[in-house]
Symmetry: C2
Subunit: 456 residues, 2 copies
C-alpha cells in the first residue's frame, strides 16, 4: 500500500507540459535567431586564433579567447579547470610518389595525428596497395616487409547517416600503422576518412600499439588516392619518398577547460552540463569541429541571461580541452565532479558540427528519455523530429562511466560533415549562421526542459 501511494504521488508530481513551455521555446528561439553572438564569436575564434591543437601556443590563446567570450556571455561565474594534455607536433612533412611509374611527384597529404615522423631521414620504398584489412591480413610478411602500405579503403557513401560510414572506415586510421608495422612495413598511407569529392586530406588521431614499432602514417585526399589507386593497378612498380618531423612532445602541457555557470534558483545542487571542445586538429580552423559546439555552448548562457530566464537547476557551459587526442579535459571534468560529489542530472555534447539540427540523441534509460520526450511536440516547429539515435560524446562520456550521468547529444544534419572534418577546409566560411544558431536554440530548449522538470 505504501508503494502504491508513492507511485501515485510520483504520478501527481510528474511534470505537465504547458502552453507556457511552448512560449518559452519560442522566446529562446527568437532571442538566439535574432540576437545571437555565436556566429561572430566563431569568426573571432577561427580568424584570430585559428586551429589550436592541444598543448600548443594556439590552444593557450584559445583558452584566453574562451575565458573572455564566456565572461561576455554573462554567467554567474567563469573558471578555468586544469587538465594536463599531450602535445603532438607536426612540423614539416612531404610525400612524393611515382604516380606514372616514372618521376616522383609531390602530392598533397597530411600526416595522421599522433603519427611519428621519419626521424630526420627520408623513407624511400615501394608502395603496395590493399583494399582492406582482409586483403592485408592475407598477405605474407615477405610481401609487406620494407614496403609502404597503402590502405585504400573507401568511405562508404551508401550509409545515409554518415557517422556510420565514419565508424566503418575509421579503423583504418587508428589501426593500420601498427598492423602494417607488425609485418615489417616502413610507413602507411591511407585514403582519408572522407565523403568529399575533392582532394582535401583528412588528419585525425591514429594509435600505436605499445610493443610495435611506430611507423609514419599519412593520409591522402580522395583525388590523390584515386591516382595512387590507378597507379598501383597499372602493374608498374610505384615508389614513395616521404619525410616528416611529426612527433609527440615528451612532456604533458598544463591546459584548461573553460567553464561558465548559471546557478540554479531552486535546485542549485543539480547540474546540467553542455559543452563542445576547444581544441582542434592543427589544420584548417576547427570551425565545425568544434568551434561550433563551443560558441553554441556559450550562446546558451548568453541567451538565458538576455531573456532573464532563471533556470531551477545549475547550468554549466564547458569548453573541453583535448577532445581530439586524449580527452584529458573531459576526464578532468568528470574527476572533479566525482571528487566534489556533485549531482549532475544531465550532460549534453555538441560535437557533430554546427549544421542544421534534426534531432537529439540520448544515452540514458528509457524512463529518463520519456521524460524529455514529453516535450517532443514542442520541437516540431523547429524541425527536431529525430530522437532515434543513441548519442553521447567523448568529452561527456567519463561523466557516464564514472558517475552514471545520463547523456544527450545534438544531432545536426550529417551530410557535409565528413567532407571537411579534420581538413584544411574546416573553416569559418563553411559554417552557416542560421544552422549554427538553430543548434544553439535546440540545446537551450533541451536544457530548459530538463531544468524545469528535473530528470529522474
Amino acid at each position: 500500500m505504501k508503494i502504491r501511494l508513492l507511485s501515485f504521488l510520483a504520478l501527481l508530481s510528474a511534470y505537465t507540459v504547458t502552453a507556457q513551455d511552448s512560449l518559452t521555446f519560442r522566446k529562446i528561439s527568437n532571442e538566439i535567431m535574432m540576437h545571437s553572438t555565436c556566429y561572430e564569436n566563431l569568426r573571432v575564434l577561427c580568424k584570430t586564433v585559428g586551429n589550436r591543437i592541444s598543448g600548443s601556443p594556439a590552444a593557450a590563446k584559445a583558452v584566453e579567447w574562451g575565458n573572455k567570450a564566456m565572461k561576455e556571455a554573462g554567467p554567474d561565474r567563469v573558471w578555468l579547470q586544469p587538465a594536463d594534455v599531450p602535445y603532438w607536433y607536426r612540423g614539416k612533412e612531404s610525400l612524393y610518389l611515382t604516380l606514372d611509374g616514372g618521376a616522383y611527384q609531390k602530392v598533397t597529404m597530411t600526416s595522421l595525428g599522433n603519427s611519428e615522423g621519419t626521424g630526420g631521414k627520408v623513407i624511400n620504398a615501394p608502395v603496395i596497395m590493399v583494399r582492406d584489412f582482409d586483403e592485408f591480413n592475407a598477405l605474407p610478411e615477405s610481401a609487406v616487409r620494407g614496403k609502404v602500405v597503402f590502405f585504400n579503403y573507401r568511405f562508404r557513401q551508401d550509409f545515409i547517416f554518415t557517422f556510420n560510414g565514419y565508424g566503418d572506415a575509421v579503423k583504418y586510421r587508428g589501426g593500420s600503422p601498427s598492423a602494417a608495422a607488425k609485418k615489417g612495413a616502413v610507413a602507411v598511407i591511407i585514403r582519408s576518412m572522407s565523403t568529399g569529392e575533392d582532394d582535401f586530406p583528412h588528419t585525425g588521431g591514429t594509435h600505436y600499439k605499445d610493443s610495435i614499432k611506430k611507423i609514419p602514417a599519412m593520409a591522402l585526399g580522395n583525388k590523390t588516392a584515386d591516382k595512387l589507386e590507378a597507379a598501383c593497378k597499372s602493374g608498374k612498380r610505384i615508389m614513395a619518398k616521404l619525410s616528416s618531423e611529426c612527433h609527440m612532445m615528451p612532456d604533458m602541457v598544463r591546459s584548461y577547460n573553460v567553464i561558465g555557470e548559471i546557478k540554479g534558483t531552486e535546485h542549485p545542487e543539480r547540474i546540467i552540463t553542455v559543452g563542445g571542445h576547444l581544441d582542434s586538429w592543427d589544420i584548417g580552423e576547427g570551425a565545425q569541429d568544434d568551434g561550433a559546439g563551443c560558441v553554441q555552448s556559450i550562446e546558451i548562457i548568453r541567451a538565458f541571461k538576455a531573456l532573464g530566464l532563471k533556470p531551477k537547476c545549475t547550468i554549466r557551459a564547458v569548453l573541453f580541452m583535448n577532445e581530439e587526442n586524449g580527452q584529458k579535459g573531459g576526464q578532468a571534468y568528470a574527476d572533479s565532479a566525482k571528487s566534489k560529489n556533485e549531482h549532475h542530472i544531465l550532460a549534453i555534447e555538441t560535437d557533430a558540427g554546427g549544421f542544421s539540427p534534426r534531432g537529439i540523441g540520448f544515452e540514458m534509460g528509457q524512463a529518463q528519455k520519456d521524460q524529455i520526450l514529453k516535450f517532443k511536440d514542442l520541437w516540431q516547429p523547429y524541425g527536431i523530429l529525430d530522437f532515434s539515435h543513441d548519442e553521447g560524446g567523448s568529452d561527456i562520456d567519463p561523466m557516464r562511466t564514472k558517475l552514471g550521468v545520463p547523456l544527450a547529444g545534438l544531432l545536426p544534419d550529417c551530410q557535409r560533415y565528413f567532407d571537411i572534418h579534420h581538413t584544411g577546409n574546416d573553416i569559418f566560411e563553411n559554417v552557416n549562421h542560421r544552422e549554427l544558431k538553430l543548434g544553439a536554440v535546440v540545446l537551450a530548449q533541451l536544457i530548459w526542459t530538463v531544468s524545469e522538470q528535473g530528470l529522474n
Copy 2:
C-alpha cells in the same frame, strides 16, 4: 450488400507495404548515392552554360544541355515541348549613393527581374527610407514625389522555416515599385529578400500594375542596406544616382521544356511527373535554383534504368522553362496534358534547392496522402520525417488548377536557401554532392511508391 462487397474488395486490393519495398528503397538509395551522375551534370550545367534567363541565348544552350543529359539518362523517349517565353534583359546598371552625406559612392546592387530601366537617362534624386508598407502608406504624396523610396524591410530571421520568412518579405519585391510610383516616386530600392549576413544583392521578379508608371527597382545586399539605413537615420539628405538598361524585350521567344519518359509496364496511361526548372535568373549559376532540381529529375530516370526497375506507371522527368518570370513552361505542360486528355496521377516538383532532404510536402486530399504515408516508416532511415507541409510548386500548379492533379514537393533543409537564392553566389560550389543525391533518392522512392500502388 453490393456496396459492402465493393468496400471489401477495395480493402483487399489496397496495397500492403512489404519487405520488398524496403529493399527497393535501399537499392534506389545505393544506386544514387554511389553511382549518380547528377552532381557532375550540375557541374556541366553551371560551368558550361551558367545562368540562363528565359529567352536568352544561354537558355537555348541550356535546352541543348538538358536534351543531351536527358538522353544520356536512357529514358524510352525524350522530346522538347514548345513554350513561348518573355525575355527580360538586364544590360548595364549602376547605383551611386551619398552614404556619408557627401560624395557619391558606387554600391553593389542588382535590378529586380522584369524591372524597367532608366531609358538612357540617369535618375538623380533624394532617398527616403520606409520600414514597411504601413510606414509608406502613411506618407503624404508630397513626401514621395520625385524621390527614390528605400523599402528597408528585413527578412525575419525568427521564422525557422525560411520559406515563411520569404513569403512575408517578398511582397516588397513584387509590390513596392507600383506602390511607390503611384505616389510619384522615381525609383525604388529594396533591402533584398535575404537571410545572408553578407552583401549579395538578390534579384527576383517584380511586377508592375498595368495602369501605373513602371519605375526602376533595385535591390541591395544586407550590408549595403545597413549602410543606407544608417545614412538615412543620420538625418543628412541622402542622394541616389542610378541608371539601368533593363527592359522587357518586345517579343516572346520560342523556347522548350525538356521531357524524358519511361513508359509504364502495367498502366502506361497513368503518368507521374517530376520536374525542376531549367531557366534561372541572370546572375550566379542557378545552381540551387534550380539546376539542382533539373539534375535530380534526370537522375531518377538514370537510376530506374540502371537498376532495371520497371515502373508500372509512366514516369516523366520534366525540365520546365520560364519558372522565374512567367511559368510559361509549366502552363504549356498542363495545357498539352489537358488537350491530350492525359491521365496524370501525381506531379512532383523539386525547386527548393538541393539541400539535405527532410520531408515531402503534399497538396492533395487526405485519402491520397494517407496512401503515400503507408510508406512513411520506410523513409525513416533516409531522414525523411517531415510530412507536415503543404507543398506543390509553381511549375506543376497548372496541373492542379487545370486538371485536378495531386501535387507533391521535395522538402529540403531550408536554412541556407535564402542566403544565396537569386544571387551571384548561387553557384555550383554551394551545392553539396551528398545532399543533392539524397534529394534524388527520396524523389525516386516517392515515385516508386506511387507507381507501385497507384494513387486514388
